[in-house]
Symmetry: C2
């Protein structure tokens, strides 16, 4: 696992392909037993994992990595316990494979069934946190897929240790060790080989910032599921309850500003602006949020920074928010269509008509009515686990749980049925 | 509609985007009325359509196009009646948009609904037959999508006439005319602009031969759904009923050899080869089929041509079939994994165990048990219509009907719900 040449990456992908074929027909019990073995090994062998993590941390410190990024990278015995517990939670979820999605008997007597089957070989390209290494491996294994993991080079030693421990744990089970593999190499070149491994890799899921995702989308010939870029909006309608709107705005912006379902813009209907905007500016100021507003928002306070076109497009992931006053719900929708990333948009309104129109016109993965944008999340939606939040329209849109890591297969059964015309 | 420069193609795509936004919330009644208007116009204005078609036919004859391709290109008053009738059939199908795919109330009282919504702007890149122009337009309109049609240059005049007639018909309805547009240009360059129109086009569906599909997959940054390449297999198990196996083999190969769900290979278990292969060779010969066999198949007849590695990979679409004798069901599966395009594979067997194992191990869009491969078809499956047969695993696999032309949107409704952790 050193270089990451084309041959090495393709060899790993081919081994994944073989493992995927062996994994696909395995019943739930075999996969769950393997997940429990993985969870046990992660805590039993925590010493060597933490040792490898220390190497990553040391390298990161030497290169002047900021402390919040060091925190993301750092493992501890306690964090490993939590990671192992998450693996056991995945084991407890229902197995999507084999579910009959649709089934009926055709007029000619043929019995048709559409069954969930694994996707096959899933490549995950991600940044930062080494817990994603285990998380992604558990979710793909549970859904019957072989995974190719390509984490950040900053977490390389941690990832090597985690994958070694997981693979060793599989050796004692009926799941092939090659169900979990690390893509060799630390440089960009090895990622490129992965992105061109069409026919060996069934899907790539990039998890991370916009630039990572865009580069994978642009360069990959393997099908890609885009995840996680969120430029979310809260629209306060003329008919809104002001207290409710304040609560939703503050929660959407400040409850956890660094994640994709946080609000990055708020829009206010002109009929409620005089009442709402001053109170919103005060509440946001109390939370330390800088507001970037249009002229009408700035007319309420000198502390509002002038918003540029670029502000409305920006996923701040910080204590900043863009703002504008709009003349109508339709103007709010127009703004959202122009600037939103299609993740989550919220409306606060007491009007049934306004809610219906907003839901119908906004073309995003999730639309919230009188609720915080922060609820768009696999855990909150009751999926039990999440591999990411898709902001594309094909295959899956919104939070992706285990069923979203599957494809389907049609099976039709006859008694010598022949086609006439 | 002459040149097909980048600007022109992007302008058409942008108009499609606007039309898609207007189309998305339209109720079924409006869309159906538009489809009936389109159907009526196609027959009312048949004279000008046939005139344009005559220009295409003349040009094709001059360039020495073979007669079976001229037949595909040719329209007639009768064919236009059939095309219009197909549009009315699409109108009669249920509207997938707005269907609640999943819905429940979360423990905190938030009401969660997952609704079907249109994909948005759908680009169809296709060859030959001008009836696809109308077919694709009807299916995309019914599912609330704007379509960008890019047919073959050989059918250019026919397609211009058909699209003009359909757009004129929309003028008298509440559906925007830009719901149906032709991509300008006849050359490869204009297709390239379409394939790079990421953000304006939501999905491209290439319909045609393997080389068209591969080039779109390789070059497109817009998400692609691969359709229609079929290298299908009939496996005759050691436990098969010989008469049934003969019927299924002949039907799968000869009932309509030019389409993607026709069989291109048959594999025979060694235990039944002495009984089955001589009869199969005779029956295939009677139908004019040339068999390309391995050594064991050739031992039964001098008329069997020697099969190369390439034969097992080939989608003949002609009266040719590759053949081999295998030692076991697992060897048949191995052959299929190595050579099949993942469209449809059939097993003929009386053994419940063999059927179960074959279904579980074969990784194709459709698996037939004791039935002809020819049944893999949206019409036969009861979908009422088909935009193509997907052989990829993401989004949709197998025959694609109207629901497969949609995405979904999560809507969650609260009463000021805020997230705590």
């Amino acid at each position: 696992m050193s270089e990451g040449t084309r041959e090495q990456v393709l060899e790993v992908a081919a081994r994944g392909r073989t493992a995927a074929a062996d994994l696909a027909p395995l019943p739930r019990g075999v996969k769950d037993a393997a997940l429990f073995a993985v969870a046990d090994a992660l805590t039993a062998r925590s010493a060597e994992i933490l040792e490898a993590n220390a190497v990553d941390l040391e390298r990161a410190k030497e290169s002047g990595t900021p402390s919040y990024m060091l925190d993301r990278l750092a493992l501890s015995a306690e964090r490993l316990e939590q990671i192992a517990a998450a693996v056991r939670e995945v084991a407890a979820l229902p197995d999507p494979v084999g579910e009959v999605v649709r089934g009926y008997t055709l007029p000619n007597g043929l019995e048709l069934r559409q069954l969930r089957v694994p996707l096959g070989v899933v490549g995950i390209i991600y940044e930062g946190r080494p817990n994603v290494t285990v998380d992604a491996a558990a979710l793909t294994l549970k859904s019957g897929n072989a995974v190719l993991l390509r984490g950040s080079s900053s977490a390389y030693d941690s990832n090597v240790a985690l994958v070694n421990v997981m693979r060793d744990a599989l050796e004692g089970t009926d799941v092939p060790a090659d169900a979990i593999q690390l893509v060799p190499g630390r440089d960009r070149e090895s990622v490129k080989h992965l992105m061109r491994a069409r026919g060996l890799v069934d899907v790539l899921i990039p998890r991370g910032g916009a630039s990572l995702i865009n580069s994978v989308v642009e360069e990959s010939t393997v099908p890609v599921i885009e995840t996680g870029v969120g430029n979310c909006t809260v629209y306060v309608d003329g008919d809104a309850d002001v207290e409710m709107a304040l609560g939703i705005l503050i929660n959407s912006k400040t409850q956890r500003p660094s994640v994709c379902n946080t609000a990055e813009t708020f829009l206010v209907h002109k009929d409620i602006a005089d009442v709402f905007v001053p109170r919103a500016l005060e509440a946001l100021k109390d939370k330390g949020v800088t507001v970037h507003g249009d002229e009408r928002v700035r007319s309420y306070s000198a502390e509002v920074v002038e918003a540029t076109e670029e502000d409305y497009r920006t996923e701040y992931l910080s204590l900043d928010i863009a703002a504008a006053v709009v003349d109508s719900l339709d103007e709010a929708v127009k703004h959202i269509r122009a600037y939103s990333s299609g993740h989550t948009e919220a409306i606060v309104t007491n009007s049934q008509q306004a809610a219906k129109r907003f839901v119908s016109l906004v073309d995003s993965a999730a639309v919230a009515v009188n609720a915080s944008t922060r609820f768009t999340d696999g855990g909150e939606f009751g999926f039990g686990a999440e591999i990411g939040i898709s902001t594309q329209k094909l295959h899956s849109r919104g939070p992706m749980g285990l069923p979203e890591l599957t494809s389907t297969k049609y099976v039709f059964t006859g008694e010598g049925h022949l086609r006439g015309v």
